[in-house]
């Protein structure tokens, strides 16, 4: 498996090794940065995490219970706009990455903040939706298995979005404090970007299976 180690001053660099920055030697049999490989493996494992909640919803979401079930009270126009907002945040995220790759530090900061704002709008929409379901329809986490499955799935997705916003704002803060993102932080931006896009593709699946097909 690949490993990373520090280069000693004056040390010989093995032929098969790649130098990624002035401080680190990345020795990789795969030829891929370990952090990036780690992120892809992590995201791959996240399919199993979200798969469990999606399966749970597919099993219980279509069944009838004595109390109100999510499929009867979905607000499709509202959720469609939320989905559009999250989709556009993927655009701003990739533009932040693209701006950094072209050396446009101001553009990077702007697009990072735009992504965090769009993520916040999506999250605000989810809070509004949950509040409406609880206050107006009295559908809580423990109302019935369908409601539990819905809140667990969308709630964990929302938690991922919230974590992504924290990472985006952290990068924005670093960029502001240091006057831009260095090559080292450039990789961090790429990793946060991968995480953010993954959160988006999970929502693409949730929006279709849970909302559009679920409510039909």
């Amino acid at each position: 498996m690949a490993d990373t180690f520090e280069i000693e001053e004056g040390a010989e660099v093995p032929e098969h090794a790649e130098v990624h920055d002035s401080h680190h030697l990345v020795h990789e049999s795969t030829g891929i940065d370990n952090r990036k490989l780690g992120m892809w493996v992590f995201l791959s494992s996240e399919f199993l995490f979200f798969g469990a909640f999606i399966s749970n919803y597919l099993l219980y979401g279509g069944r009838d219970f004595d109390s109100v079930v999510p499929r009867d009270i979905y607000d499709i126009p509202f959720t469609s706009i939320s989905s559009f907002v999250l989709l556009m945040s993927s655009l701003t995220m990739v533009l932040a990455h693209h701006a950094l790759s072209t050396g446009d530090q101001n553009g990077t900061k702007t697009w990072l903040m735009a992504t965090a704002l769009l993520g916040s709008v999506f999250l605000g929409g989810q809070v509004f939706e949950f509040t409406e379901f609880i206050v107006e329809y009295d559908m809580t986490l423990t109302s019935n298995p369908a409601a539990s499955a819905f809140y667990m799935l969308t709630g964990f997705h929302g938690t991922h979005v919230a974590l992504g916003i924290v990472m985006l704002l952290s990068l924005f803060g670093i960029a502001r404090r240091e006057g831009g993102l260095s090559e080292k932080h450039g990789m961090n931006l790429e990793l946060v970007g991968l995480y953010w896009h993954f959160v988006d593709i999970i929502w693409i699946v949730i929006f279709t299976l849970v909302y559009l097909i679920g409510a039909a």
């Binding site: 795969t30 030829g31 891929i32 990036k36 490989l37 892809w40 493996v41 995201l43 791959s44 494992s45 996240e46 399919f47 199993l48 979200f50 798969g51 469990a52 999606i54 399966s55 597919l58 099993l59 069944r63 499709i76 126009p77 469609s80 989905s83 559009f84 989709l87 556009m88 993927s90 655009l91 995220m93 990739v94 533009l95 693209h98 790759s101 970007g193 991968l194 896009h197 993954f198 988006d200 593709i201 693409i204 699946v205 929006f207 279709t208 299976l209 559009l212 097909i213 409510a215 039909a216």
Partner: protein, 106 residues
């Protein structure tokens, strides 16, 4: 892939905007299909169409926004393996529990 080749093969800002517009149009078609099914009834055709459209969106975001199509195929295999494993595992789970619900009255 070298860094230079890696950088030059990536889409431009305009390409990213075009991709985002394409994704937005697919989302609009999905929502339109939902209402079309509500209005006239599509006799079960809505679900495969919606899954097909969301699969296209999924592939486009992973391929272009996550740059997987420009990366080493090793990453694609890792990512794809996780996806296939999850699909297989939960496919079995849904089949088993679905059968219990249908035939076992669970």
């Amino acid at each position: 892939m070298s860094d230079t080749a890696h950088a030059t093969s990536h889409p431009s800002t305009k390409d990213y905007v075009r991709i985002a517009i394409f994704l937005a149009v697919l989302t609009a078609i999905e929502v339109a299909l939902f209402y079309l099914n509500e209005a006239v009834g599509m006799e079960g055709w809505d679900a495969p169409l919606l899954i097909g459209l969301s699969t296209i969106k999924f592939v486009v975001v992973v391929g272009w926004f996550m740059h997987l199509r420009f990366e080493d195929s090793f990453l694609a295999r890792f990512f794809g393996a996780g996806f296939v494993l999850a699909m297989a595992l939960y496919g079995i789970v849904l089949a088993v529990f679905g059968a219990i619900v249908l035939f076992g009255g669970g």
